[in-house]
Symmetry: C2
Subunit: 298 residues, 2 copies
């Protein structure tokens, strides 16, 4: 199968359609990069773009997008509810098929270096591309936001990985990184008691002593009058979907509550579900190369 | 996702490499048709070719292959252990992605019509493309083989669907059809008693009153000293892999035998395994369009 990488840049404009379209157009122009989706939020004043394709094409598309955003967005007059520090706020690279995390880190470094050198924007490498443990956490990197960065950037520990050690007034600063794909996965319970869903979520998630790569909360599905354990699996290769599912079932048993179903929200990597089939069917020695569609795509 | 169809022509030459290569070369020449695999069996004196790609390209490749086989193979002097009736013996079209069985039937009709008109070969449509219930079964169509067809073809019930109602002496006759992909799936047992594996296979397979689209036998894995239920799932969309697996487990229980693993042999359609993940995770409302790789390939 061809190498496929995903990139999900977030830029700080969610209201002006002309500006949004001009920035997104930069992605459409790059051959081999596919614009899978983009959605803008007016109160966040922010747009999330999903690009997939070959590493080189996606890298080019991400840089061109950031360049156009730096031209068209003025952070000194930006307001919006979502935390942000730059015109292009974050650029994560995500391995999808036949691409390693190390390659995604390289892509992040390449885009970060070019943004620093060519666009004069301070760049912080984050998550799997981070150069210090602190920078591993995007929330830590972004703390203080655009307004606070004029001071923060002067601290030795917050010297940018690329670009100038002074703030870019118009374009702000950007976090460029690499991470595994998220899987949004929910398990539905045969109860209308949200407290039970919350209690289960607490036992299953990392914070409560549960599975390492699971975040989770209890929520109420009003229209069906049932409670749900709503999870984000932040590393499905380490903590698999079936582990999350079985842990929820196990915890639900203490309340005598049945699991009545589950939901995968949005896009998921094929392997995250194939892994579950392998587990339950006790399949020995399976290779993803046995997937007919994968062979065809090669 | 792009439409993908698979075609697995079998032609009656498995010994002469020059001839085999010349015939297979016809597939390589067609743009948009991918030669996934070909393997020859000397005792069968037969070669099985696997082609995938877009419907038009695969249809062209299959016809060109049949044309070249008719040129280079002389059935009047052919011998081999495998039942056969023509230079190109069978041409099944198999829907893989975003293609319906009805479209595959159309491809079979198109290739069959051209083989009749342009190559003067009697053609029988079989399996899902069959025009009579009898022709649904390939073994029925092929009964009598090449040698017997000189008489068989004269019977009203065996009038070909396309081409002349007299045998083509050099190229023989060909069965062209449409069918779902096979999944070869084995379940390993914690026993070295092959009789138990055979007894389980009998209860699970269609012939013994089991699942409609399962064929199965017991076999011995000598190198591991364990017995195995070896199955062919001839319609994984109707009889799913997990159904076959759970039925084997259920039957194994009566002997107090555990299931220690399972194997998927060769290529499988992605959906056959995703269906299993959906079942075990009790996923509600999943769509194959949520598979990231599928969206990327679109």
């Amino acid at each position: 199968m061809a190498k496929i990488v995903e990139c999900v840049p977030n830029f700080s404009e969610g209201r002006n359609n002309e500006v949004i379209e001009a920035i997104v157009e930069e992605v459409r122009r790059v051959e081999g990069a596919k614009l899978l989706d983009y959605s803008s939020d007016k109160s966040h004043n922010r747009t999330v773009v999903t690009i997939v394709g070959k590493p080189e094409a996606v890298t080019t598309a991400a840089f061109n997008l950031a360049k156009k955003a730096a031209e068209l967005i003025d952070m000194s007059i930006h307001e919006g509810e979502h935390p942000r520090m730059g015109a292009t706020d974050v650029i994560p690279f995500i391995p999808i098929a036949d691409v390693t995390m190390a390659e995604c880190v390289e892509m992040a470094r390449e885009v970060g270096r070019r943004m620093g050198e060519e666009l004069n924007i301070p760049v912080y490498l984050y998550e799997d591309a981070a150069t210090t443990p602190q920078r591993g956490n995007l929330a830590e990197v972004r703390k203080g936001q655009y307004e606070g960065f004029f001071e923060k950037i002067k601290k030795e520990e917050w010297k940018p990985d690329f670009g100038p050690a002074t703030m870019n007034v118009k374009a702000g600063a950007t976090a460029v990184g690499a991470r595994v794909p998220l899987v949004a996965y929910n398990v539905n319970l045969a109860t209308d008691n949200i407290e039970i869903a919350s209690a289960i979520a607490k036992k299953v998630r990392f914070l409560g002593g549960g599975l390492r790569y699971v975040k989770g909360i209890g929520v109420m599905l009003e229209e069906r009058n049932i409670a749900q354990v709503s999870m984000n699996l932040v590393n499905y290769e380490k903590t698999a979907i079936y582990q999350a599912f079985e842990m929820v079932k196990m915890e639900a048993q203490r309340y005598g509550i049945a699991v009545i179903g589950s939901e995968v929200i949005g896009l998921v990597p094929m392997k995250s579900l194939i892994d579950c089939a392998e587990y339950y069917l006790q399949i020995e020695d399976f290779s993803m190369d046995q997937i007919l569609e994968k062979r065809v795509a090669e």
